[in-house]
């Protein structure tokens, strides 16, 4: 009789706890940083500072211009980003990579450079005149150092993010139903309007809110292209800068927190829309 073979001890995989602790520790540190920043702001300010800041006519004007300019630039961004995102997603045209790269420029470029470039574009000599003069003469309003410059500076950056969102949105929408719509007698425009666009509404909401939030945070290009004239081209991001520069730290923090609240509201809308946004 052969002796019974030794049974190997059953396999035990060991604990997952160390893994989860390391991952959670590394990842959580960033969450802690953000919470700490907000908590510090909150600890520094008081309802009194808030009320005081809100009473200043300059800040009231800045809030108004911020809300209007962000909304206009967000709507403009989506108006442009929806067709561009659709074209880039659905058509493999020659030179698409080039368009792709060009659209990404505002995303990777320092925003200040965009402002500077806008300034140069509008004042570049153009057959004895320049774009700024031409617009003033033909359309009767100023752009540089005026409200339109605020919107344009915001739009120039925000639109790039809206295009990315819309492109991802249309990439995730199956193209087959639009093809079937074509066989059913549609023009491409009808397939877009009746089949693709109704499926894209979550992406449109996401793109609008992202463009709005980017516009809210825009500072460099506005400073360069629109200036920081109180009661005229001052938006909340410039308010923070202006208040800081005159030593009004409390007001700067109060305004910063207002922007945090606005940004959180916008993010809430994105989450509610349930949009899957790539960036």
């Amino acid at each position: 009789m052969t002796p019974p073979r030794a049974v190997p001890p059953p396999h035990r995989a060991g604990s997952d706890v160390p893994f989860l602790v390391v991952m959670g520790g590394l990842g959580g540190s960033y969450v802690v940083l953000i919470v700490a920043l907000l908590a510090a702001d909150l600890a520094f300010t008081s309802p009194g500072h808030f009320a005081e800041a809100l009473r200043k006519p300059e800040i009231q004007a800045a809030i108004e211009l911020t809300l209007v300019s962000c909304t206009v630039s967000a709507l403009l961004s989506v108006w442009v980003a929806t067709p561009l995102g659709y074209l880039l997603s659905r058509f493999a045209f020659r030179g698409r990579w080039l368009v792709d790269t060009i659209i990404d420029i505002p995303v990777v470029l320092p925003p200040l450079v965009i402002g500077l470039s806008l300034l140069i574009l509008f004042h570049l000599p153009l057959g004895g005149t320049n774009l700024e003069e031409l617009i003033q003469r033909r359309l009767g309003f100023r752009v540089t150092y005026a409200e339109p410059a605020v919107v344009l500076a915001q739009f120039a950056v925000a639109c790039a993010f809206a295009v990315q969102t819309m492109r991802v949105t249309f990439d995730q929408i199956d193209a087959r139903p639009e093809q079937v719509a074509l066989t059913l007698g549609c023009r491409r425009s009808q397939a877009f309007l009746h089949v693709a666009l109704p499926q894209a509404w979550r992406g449109i909401v996401a793109a609008t809110t992202i463009a709005w939030a980017r516009s809210l945070g825009e500072f460099g290009p506005i400073l360069v292209f629109a200036g920081a004239t109180r009661m005229r081209t001052e938006v909340l991001s410039t308010t923070v800068f202006l208040e800081l520069s005159v030593g009004q730290l409390e007001a700067a923090v109060a305004v910063s927190l207002m922007m945090v609240l606005a940004a959180m509201g916008v993010l809430g809308v994105v989450r509610l829309a349930g949009a899957r946004v790539a960036r």
């Binding site: 087959r176 139903p177 093809q179 079937v180 066989t183 059913l184 007698g185 549609c186």
Partner: protein, 219 residues
């Protein structure tokens, strides 16, 4: 009638050429062949969704090779159905008729007629969410038939259905085709399906498309 005359198609690395067939008016043709042989590509070329590099597509005597999909009047049921996620079943049936500016009363008439034939009257106001496989197939079929095309092409329409549903739909396809005299091209892997439907059998293998006698389908 569906005629393909020395058709050549290229997309990316995939290439096929010398594809010819002639399906007579009112015939039910079944096209079989292995995966990756280009069956879907042939259907797409007939619908106008795939550009052809050479050769001709002639439908009911008209050379439509350079015509847009919208101007070919081919009913198309793709393999993944391509249903409209934001529309109701009724919306699907109305779609092609609205595009053609058909009067409202005639659209309503056609919708209830289609729903009756397909047996989905009670689903008309449902969206695509929660429809079963068989119900979805009926919606895709009804949408393709809504504008009364004279040609119907279907890409494995009965795939992924249980056997009972498949049999019922086979029967339905046969009835519809008999009553409307549609010229039909039906792509399938299933010999059973081909046996119960085909008037004509085409096989594509190694890039060659040939007509075969129906006796090849005998069990």
């Amino acid at each position: 009638m569906i005629e393909l005359d020395q058709l050549a198609v290229r997309s990316g690395d995939f290439e096929m050429s010398g594809i010819s067939l002639a399906i007579p008016e009112g015939a039910y043709a079944v096209l079989m062949g292995g995966t990756g042989q280009g069956k879907t590509t042939i259907l797409e070329a007939i619908c106008g969704l795939r550009a052809v590099t050479s050769g001709r597509v002639v439908l009911n005597g008209d050379d439509v090779t350079r015509r847009r999909p919208a101007d070919r009047s081919v009913g198309y049921v793709p393999q993944d159905l391509g249903l409209f996620p934001t529309m109701t079943v009724r919306g699907h049936f109305e779609f092609a008729l609205k595009v053609r500016r058909t009067p409202r009363a005639r659209i309503a008439e056609r919708v209830s007629e289609l729903a009756g034939v397909l047996g989905i009257e009670r689903l008309l106001d449902r969206t695509m969410r929660g429809l079963s496989g068989g119900e979805s197939q009926r919606v895709a079929l009804g949408r393709a038939l809504s504008f009364r095309p004279r040609i119907l092409v279907m890409d494995e329409p009965l795939n992924a259905l249980d056997e009972a549903t498949r049999d019922r739909l086979c029967e339905l396809l046969r009835t519809i085709q008999r009553e409307t005299g549609l010229t039909t091209l039906h792509v399938t892997h299933s010999r059973t399906e081909a046996r119960s439907l085909a008037d004509r059998l085409y096989i594509i293998d190694s890039g060659r498309l040939t007509e075969r006698p129906l006796t090849e389908l005998a069990p």
